[in-house]
């Protein structure tokens, strides 16, 4: 008779086992805040469609201090989500080559983050111009 009795270790609470997993759960968890922000945007759009009173209600919500604190938190979480997303980017896209040389991962991450900053700046400037009533 075989004395073999392979032991399988449990996976319970695996996400606490390694700091790497904790960070992974944290950055994946921030996706919930992306969803919350999308909901808020959608609510704004619906209010806009419903007419002036609803839209003013939405603006009042944005002005309400607790909502501002919540939106500040959402912004922080979105930033964390964006940064970690770009940090893992080199692992998820095909290698980028210029001529024969392969770009190192950090260049791809940095390029992605710069693009994120540039896009945000363009968007913020556009919104600011609109708020001012055009050029």
């Amino acid at each position: 008779m075989s004395a073999r009795r392979p032991y399988i270790r449990p996976m319970a609470r695996w996400y606490l086992r390694d700091p790497f997993f904790i960070e992974y759960m944290a950055h994946e968890g921030t996706a919930v805040f992306v969803w919350l922000f999308a909901l808020e945007l959608l609510a704004g759009l619906v209010c806009l469609a419903l007419g002036e009173a609803a839209w003013n209600g939405f603006l009042a919500w944005l002005d309400w201090l607790p909502a501002q604190i919540a939106n500040g938190l959402v912004l922080l979480m979105l930033l964390y989500h964006g940064i970690t997303w770009f940090l893992i980017l080199p692992r998820t896209i095909p290698p980028v080559r210029i001529g024969h040389a392969r770009l190192p991962g950090w260049v791809l991450s940095a390029a992605g983050m710069m693009a994120m900053i540039a896009a945000s700046a363009v968007l913020a400037t556009g919104a600011w111009l609109l708020a001012r009533g055009g050029l």
């Binding site: 073999r4 392979p6 032991y7 695996w14 996400y15 994946e28 692992r91 998820t92 095909p94 024969h100």
Partner: protein, 251 residues
């Protein structure tokens, strides 16, 4: 002068007498250059001959000494006692069943490696008179990194998805598959892509990325897995379009 010693805690499991694994401490003398593998050999030779573990090359190339050291997947011959404060914990590779002490059951992993058909399936049959299959250094550079895998299993121990679903093909096997799919001389991509797109293929991966972080050979299996998510999606959405000739030219 008495040599410095360090406590090495080893997760023991002797199936014929232990219900479950337990920790056992050993005091091991160490110097600057004492690897964890050297410490295990000291324990086996001097303190406790019943300890079981695998090793062979002592130079990070055979891939047999993969263990959880300080809770992380590492090669015992490439990890040094000097890098640990206090006690060093040594445990069998996570996500593999423990056969005995630090020895794990590798059968399933080996079967996965075989399943990806890790050999060249020539794109065109040639007779010896036709000459060899030629490849430029550039064509080779596409897959070279994925050919560096030593099958140590650290990436499986790093992948929670492998732990949660042991049937997942897993990072190492997919990296090996990718290596052959990228080879300009090979014609087996289509066959291998079936494994990639299957239930137990790349879409089990949630891009934790730890597999690549622990890889001792910088193979970056996470990249092989995630690039194949794109390849699989491309094959699905563009399946009605004529496919370009696969891979580079091999004449």
């Amino acid at each position: 002068m008495k040599p410095q010693t360090k406590t090495v805690a080893v997760l023991r499991y002797r199936p014929e007498q232990d219900k479950e694994p337990f920790w056992q401490d050993y005091e091991v003398p160490f110097a600057e250059d004492t690897s964890v593998l050297a410490a295990l050999n000291y324990i086996k030779d001097e303190l406790d001959g019943t300890l079981s573990f695998r090793w062979s090359c002592r130079q990070a190339i055979c891939g047999s000494c993969g263990l959880m050291i300080g809770g992380k997947p590492r090669l015992a011959c490439k990890t040094f006692l000097r890098d640990f404060e206090g006690k060093v914990t040594v445990e069998a590779l996570a996500h593999f069943p423990i056969e005995r002490d630090l020895v794990v059951v590798m059968d399933d992993f080996i079967a996965k490696l075989e399943r990806v058909k890790p050999w060249l399936m020539p794109r065109e049959e040639r007779a010896p008179e036709d000459g060899e299959y030629r490849q430029t250094p550039q064509e080779m550079s596409l897959y070279e990194q994925f050919a560096g895998c030593i099958n140590c299993g650290l990436c499986y121990a790093a992948c929670p998805q492998v732990g949660l679903n042991p049937n997942f093909l897993g990072p190492g096997a997919i990296a090996l598959l990718h290596r052959y799919n990228l080879d300009s001389r090979d014609g087996g991509s289509e066959e291998r892509m079936k494994l990639i797109s299957a239930e137990l293929g790349v879409f089990n991966c949630t891009a934790v990325g730890y597999c690549s972080a622990v890889c001792p050979k910088i193979v970056d299996p996470a990249n092989a897995v995630n690039v194949n998510k794109m390849n699989s999606a491309r094959d699905y959405f563009f399946r009605f379009l004529p496919r370009p000739a696969p891979k580079g030219g091999c004449q």
